[in-house]
């Protein structure tokens, strides 16, 4: 193995892990930007979707694509149910109550998964088309990682286009910038929030399933990666899709490199960089100035 191949391998591995982080966190960024709701339980939706996908494939023998679709729809449906019945009551509450409520939800999800499925970690069975190696000329690399990177890019592009070019995207941007003004202009913020919450949770569910390979999938998932989701969202800037995308890829590559070369405490650099970025730009790299 020469240096270039090593380098490409590390870069691709990091980018794939970062892509997973992006798919999971993008919904959190938008919903937090919209409502200012500190939803620590976002990772729990990712875990729920991940379990749906993995169990659908391993136990019910669904196809890969069908299982992913099921994961998206199932997680989105659950999130709408919870949003309508519980989250809604806490929009006007303080941050502290929101933190407490969502930590409580995490515990309930964890306990429910342990009771229903069991405490052991789950593995994703890849379809044969994605499980081999792909020759990229210079290096050959796992097809699945390349697939993830491409899919993640397409998702980022799709969401970005939706934000920039469609009516609902414009409404979301307006609400993130100034919620009161958006409400006075007749934008139905509640409905907008429900839609984005459902979509974001569905994406998280997909991310949980697709990323089982990189982040693992066990009942402790929502707590284990909570800090990473929050870092990505706050460094990228609330409500900024591009910001979350860049922050996720950066964090993915950094984490991959550091755990490889400095397994004991190497992640210290991730926290140091996060602190420096947030001190220099409290609103995140791509966030708008706080109003």
């Amino acid at each position: 193995m020469n240096f270039a191949a090593d380098f490409a391998g590390i870069l691709l591995g990091g980018l794939a892990a970062g892509t997973v982080l992006f798919i999971v966190s993008v919904g959190l960024s938008v919903t937090m930007g919209l409502m200012g709701f500190v939803n620590l339980a976002h990772g729990a939706f990712a875990m729920f979707g991940g379990y749906l996908i993995v169990l659908a494939m391993n136990r019910a023998h669904f196809g890969f694509a069908t299982a992913i679709a099921l994961g998206f729809v199932g997680t989105a449906a659950l999130s709408v149910l919870l949003e309508r019945t519980l989250y809604r009551r806490l929009y006007r509450a303080g941050e502290l109550d929101q933190v407490l409520f969502t930590i409580g939800l995490i515990f309930i999800f964890i306990a429910a998964i342990v009771i229903v499925v069991g405490p052991e970690s789950q593995t994703l069975q890849l379809p044969p088309a994605l499980s081999g190696q792909l020759n990229l000329g210079l290096v050959s690399y796992r097809t699945y990682s390349i697939f993830l990177i491409v899919v993640g890019f397409l998702i980022a592009l799709g969401i970005w286009l939706t934000f920039e070019r469609t009516r609902i995207g414009g409404q979301i941007r307006a609400t993130v910038d100034n919620r009161r003004m958006a409400e006075s202009l007749g934008i139905d913020v509640d409905r907008l929030f429900t839609i984005t919450f459902a979509f974001g949770s569905g994406m998280a569910g997909i991310g949980g399933g697709l990323g089982a390979e990189f982040l693992g999938l066990d009942p402790q998932y929502p707590l284990k990666y909570l800090v990473y989701f929050l870092i990505v969202v706050s460094v990228g800037g609330l409500g900024s899709v591009i910001g979350v995308y860049y922050a996720s890829l950066l964090l993915g590559v950094l984490d991959f490199v550091l755990t490889l070369y400095l397994p004991k405490g190497g992640t210290i650099f991730i926290y140091a960089i996060t602190i420096l970025i947030l001190l220099a730009r409290p609103q995140g790299l791509f966030g708008r100035k706080e109003s």
Binding site: L100, I103, G104, I108, A111, V114, L223, L278
Partner: protein, 346 residues
């Protein structure tokens, strides 16, 4: 802020006695009979349940830690998820001094733990308290994680993940030895430390300084407008809170005779937040009630069936957040008021 409380001349007292609100303000810092109950319970536990003193030490440390958080979060409204940073700083100060036989005297060790934690609190507060909301929350988590990873990286000195076991602790006042099997001395020592710290916090929150903290929590803009040095007050409060958390951490290291990375983890920071909110924040005794309820439930439920404990805790947190915004004490207060109102009406 506390005009009615501090000016004691006859005219103002006479004027205040006609006004029930002023009367309440005058009396709010006075000692009430039920405030002796926690301490009576603490001594009763010592006499009645000698087998549970290890658990009792855990309880006292948690109360002190939650009390330190209450000062920052409940009184000054600084919402942090990284308070274990100071707990861990204190624990490692005591632990490393003892482990290398540099300093094992318990009381001065705790003072050093407080000093180290306060220094970290002051330096981080100086920088971090410029931000608010989610950014501040993230920065506190990252600062704590930074310390945790630093302790992990310095494993030749800190023992890394395994920590420093069997710390030697000198006898209290040179007489009372810490017995690793029976936690008698540890328990009484912890109770004494908690009492001293509690009296300090109680005086602090009823002082003009404490009142200005409450003012900052309730309305920052107005405090700026009346010329209160908001940022300086917040930094001082954050440092004091950090010092108390450091004492709690040092006490934890002394009573358990070991330190490990769990002292600095997000788990610990989240747990103390849960304990405080469960009991009720911004009201001194919330830390006591929350710690007793949380640890008792954990101790007895988690042993039987850990998953049920997690499920129960989750449901409890959701219910508290939805229906009892001010924790158990807040709920009790509401019910008590309702009862009094009904009795007055009938």
């Amino acid at each position: 802020m506390s005009v009615a409380a501090s000016s004691g001349d006859a005219a103002s007292v006479a004027a205040a006695s006609e006004n029930s609100a002023a009367l309440m303000l005058m009396r709010r810092h006075r000692f009430r009979w039920w405030e002796a109950l926690p301490w009576i319970a603490g001594i009763a536990l010592y006499l009645a349940f000698p087998d549970y003193l290890g658990f009792g030490c855990d309880l006292l440390v948690t109360i002190l830690f939650a009390l330190s958080l209450d000062l920052a979060l409940g009184y000054a409204g600084i919402i942090t998820l990284g308070h274990a940073a100071f707990f861990g700083a204190g624990a490692y100060t005591v632990g490393m001094l003892a482990s290398y036989n540099l300093w094992t005297e318990p009381i001065t060790s705790l003072l050093m733990a407080a000093a180290v934690a306060a220094a970290i609190g002051f330096l981080s507060g100086l920088v971090l308290l410029r931000t608010t909301g989610l950014t501040f929350l993230m920065l506190t988590i990252c600062t704590m994680a930074l310390l945790e990873q630093a302790a992990n990286m310095a494993y030749p000195y800190t023992g890394g993940f395994d920590g420093l076991p069997s710390l030697p602790i000198a006898p209290v006042f040179g007489i009372f030895e810490f017995n690793p099997l029976y936690a008698n001395t540890q328990y009484l020592f912890a109770l004494g430390v908690l009492f001293v710290c509690f009296v300090f916090v109680r005086i602090l929150v009823y002082s003009p300084f404490g009142q200005s903290l409450t003012g900052i929590r309730e309305n920052v803009l107005r405090m700026h407008a009346i010329g209160s040095p908001v940022r300086r007050r917040l930094i001082v409060c954050y440092s004091i809170s950090a010092a108390l958390a450091g004492i709690a951490g040092g006490l934890w290291a002394q009573t358990t005779a070991y330190v490990n990375l769990s002292a600095l983890g997000l788990d610990r920071a989240a747990t103390v937040l849960i304990v405080l909110i469960l009991g009720g924040y911004g009201r001194l005794y919330g830390a006591f009630v929350g710690a007793v309820v949380y640890l008792a439930l954990e101790h007895f439920l988690a042993q039987i069936y850990p998953t049920a404990w997690q499920l129960g805790l989750g449901l409890l947190l959701v219910l508290i957040a939805l229906f009892a915004r001010n924790g158990i004490l807040g709920l009790g207060e509401t019910l008590w008021r309702r009862y009094v109102a009904r009795r007055g009406a009938s």
